[in-house]
């Protein structure tokens, strides 16, 4: 595949992530912080997000497995997850966290367990999408091209 084609694919893929609600404007803000002194900034932040998230999801799952669920603790973890997902623009994960917090407030264990599944699902979806996106970027760069500047107007 030649570079121009790869670049067009990248543009279409990125646009679809925004259109399908996987990413929001915050992701663009991250790209604005990327420059020559820190050309891998976005990949770095997203990788750190993956690390934070794996830990948070483990903590969440364990907290909900306790014989007596500490909803305040569960809520604290979800709150953190909401914050970090919104920091990279992972909109659907963030929204899943918002819904989750309602069940924590109600102290509804079953509701919370369903929410953990939902949050996990959204997280793995966006993780997959972002990994695909970064792989595309690596291919473009390896072929001697540069990542297009994205202009979103919708």
């Amino acid at each position: 595949m030649e570079v121009g084609q790869m670049q067009r694919q990248w543009v279409d893929y990125t646009k679809s992530l925004f259109l399908e609600g996987f990413l929001d404007g915050q992701f663009l803000q991250l790209q604005q912080l990327q420059d020559e002194s820190n050309p891998d900034f976005v990949v770095e932040v997203v990788s750190l997000f993956f690390e934070d998230s794996e830990k948070l999801l483990n903590d969440l799952t364990r907290a909900l497995e306790q014989p007596s669920v500490d909803f305040k603790r569960v809520d604290a973890h979800v709150h953190q997850f909401k914050g970090s997902s919104s920091s990279i623009g992972a909109q659907r994960v963030k929204n899943a966290c918002i819904a989750f917090r309602n069940f924590c407030e109600e102290q509804n264990t079953e509701g919370c367990i369903r929410c953990v599944q939902q949050v996990k699902q959204e997280y793995y979806l966006v993780k997959n999408k972002l990994e695909t996106l970064f792989a595309m970027e690596q291919q473009i760069v390896a072929a001697g091209g540069s990542i297009p500047i994205l202009e979103l107007s919708f």
Binding site: Q29, L33, E36, D40, E44, V45, L48, E51, A76
Partner: protein, 162 residues
């Protein structure tokens, strides 16, 4: 054009205490400003770090409220004044949260008659934790996904009212 290779960052090690200065940039409104940033999530910390150093600030990172308190206490005991100009304090850290750290810092300050601006970082929408922040002695609040323009507004208002 190949992307330049950066020195790989080892994300597995715990966040170290490190001082970092930003590269030379034309618009650096935060030059000369020293921030102590207390946060326990890596992605958010990385963003805050970049946002601040991008504009010329010097940043010291620490991973929780207890570490922030230790750093501040040490400066006060040794130098009788604060080393940093501002503290950005995450409210929801797991080991000593921001509220407790702020309360303890205010207690320490009493003997030295100093007051460092503490800016709370919260992902709560406005209003939800304002009372807790005020009671803990925090001066301002910003969202965790540090927005530069709001930060600059806050810094300006702090300087104006000094």
């Amino acid at each position: 054009m190949l992307a330049s290779k950066q020195e790989p960052v080892d994300y597995r090690r715990p966040l170290p205490h490190r001082e970092t200065e930003g590269p030379d940039k034309t618009s650096r409104p935060l030059v000369g400003k020293k921030f102590l940033v207390a946060k326990d999530q890596k992605a958010l910390t990385h963003i805050a770090m970049k946002t601040l150093t991008h504009r010329g600030a010097t940043v010291k990172l620490c991973g929780n409220g207890e570490e922030a308190l230790d750093l501040v206490r040490n400066d006060l005991v040794t130098h009788r004044k604060h080393r940093y100009d501002y503290i950005l304090m995450d409210c929801q850290m797991l080991i000593m949260d921001g509220f407790e750290a702020a309360r303890e810092i205010r207690k320490e300050e009493k003997s030295y008659d100093v007051h460092i601006p503490i800016i709370a970082l919260t992902s709560h929408e406005q209003g939800e934790e304002t009372r807790r922040m005020i009671e803990a002695g925090m001066d301002h609040h910003l969202t965790k996904t540090l927005k530069l323009d709001r930060l600059l507004e806050t810094i300006t208002s702090i300087c104006f009212f000094k």
